[in-house]
Amino acid sequence: MSTDVHTLAGAYALDALSPEEAAQFRQHLDVCESCRIEVREFQKAAAQMGAAEAVTPPPDLKARVMALADRTPQLPPRTSEGPTAAPATGSTPGPTPGPGAGPDSGPTIASIEAHRGQPAGTSRRWTTWLAVAAAAVVLVGGGALGARALLDDSDAGLAAAPVQVFEAQDAQTATVETRNGGELTVAVSPSRKEMAVDTRELPALDDEHVYQIWSVQDDGTTVDVAILDDPGSGAAMGLPEQGTQVAVTVEPKGGSEQPTTDPVAQVDPYAV
C-alpha cells in the first residue's frame, strides 16, 4: 500500500472509497492505531454534520420499524475485538485478490478444484436450494420493500425463504467478517434442515461482478449453488451434508462455472 495511505482516512470516513479500497484501508487500520483514532474522530465530525440535517420522518415509519424489530432476532455479541468469534475459515485478514488474481495467491477453491480435475456441476449434492428469494425479504429484516411484503403476506409459501430460517425456533446464527470488508450472517435450522445467508452486509459490487455461492465438499469439489443478482435478498437453501462448507466468491457478471477468485467468506454450517 502506498505511503500516503493515511490521507485516505478522510475519504474513508466520508464513505467515499470504492468497496475494494475501503477493505484495503480497513486492513491498514488493523495495524495503524493513529489512523483508527483519526477515523473515529472524523466519523464523529461527519455524524455531527449529518445530524445537522435532521428532518422528522413520516410518523408511520416508527410503527413499521418497531414491528420489524419485534420479529427480528438480534445478533450475538462479539466476544472479542477484531474478527468475530463466529467459525469461519474465510475470515482471516489478508489481501483480497480481485477477479483474475494470479495462481500464486494461495490455496483457492479453484486451485483445489483444478487439482481434482472434477468436471463442473457433476456432483450437485445439495438437495434443495429452494430459493434465492429474489423478490423477497429475505433476511431477517431484509430490504425494506421485502419486509413490507412479508408483513402484508406473512405466509408467502416459500418454505426455505431465508427469513423463515432465521426465525426458526432452533435457528443458530453466526456473523463472519468477509475478506472484502463486509459481513455475512448465516442461520442454520437443524429442525428445518435448512440454512440461510443474510447477504445484505456484503459490499456493493460494480455492474460487472456478482456474488456467487458455492458448496465446497470435503473432497474439495465445488458446486455452484446460486448467483446473487441482488445481495439485498439473501438466500435460503437445504442444509448440506456434514463436511460440506458454503463459500461466497466475487465472479464476473453472469456467474462462473467454477470459482475464479478466492472466497470472501467460507462457513461450515455445522460449526454455526
Binding site: Q43, A52, A54, P57, M66, L68, A69, L75, G141
Partner: protein, 193 residues
Amino acid sequence: MGSDPGLRLVRSREPNDVDALVGRVAVGDSDAFSRLYDAVAASVYGVARRVVRDPERAEDVAQDVFLEVWRKAPSFNDARGSAKTWILTIAHRRAVDAVRRNESQKKYDGRASVDEVTREEPLDGLIEAEEHGAVRDCLETLTSLQLESVRLAYFNGYTYPEVATLLDKPLPTIKTRMRDGLIRLRDCLEGAR
C-alpha cells in the same frame, strides 16, 4: 407544558442518553428501542433524505438502519465512539450504498451540481438547534475546495475519484482536501463544546 422547547434542548444535550439506550437495546429492551428511535430518527432520516433524496427510498434506508441497529446493538462497543456516531455512520453508509446501487443504472445524470450541494435546506427547528448552528459555523471555516469535496462525498454519495472528476482536480488533491476539511471541522466542533 408538554411543548416546552426548553425540555427538548436539555434532553438532547444529555451526552449519555443514546449510549444508555443502546445498552438497553442490546439486551432486547423494545421500550428502549422505541425511545432510541425517538431520539435519533430525525437525524437518521435527515441523512438518508439528503443523500438519496427520494423520500420513499429515504424511508426504506432509515428502516434498514434501525433494523441494523437493533440486530447489532449487542456488539456495539462504546470504546470505539458514541452510539449516536455509530448509528449515523450506519445511516450514511446505507444511504450511500442505496445511491450507488441506483447509480449503476444511470451514472452522472446531473443529479448533483455543486450549486445544489451548497444549498441550505430548511432544518427541523426543534432538534438540537445549538449543534446545528455549531456545525454551520464550523463548515464556514473550511476552504471552498475542502467544503465542496466533503459535501459532494458526504451528502451526494460520490466517491473521491468522482469528486475529482466533478471538480476537475487531481485525485491526491481531493483526498487531501477531504482529510484537511474533516480536520478543520473536527477541531472547530471540539472547540465549540
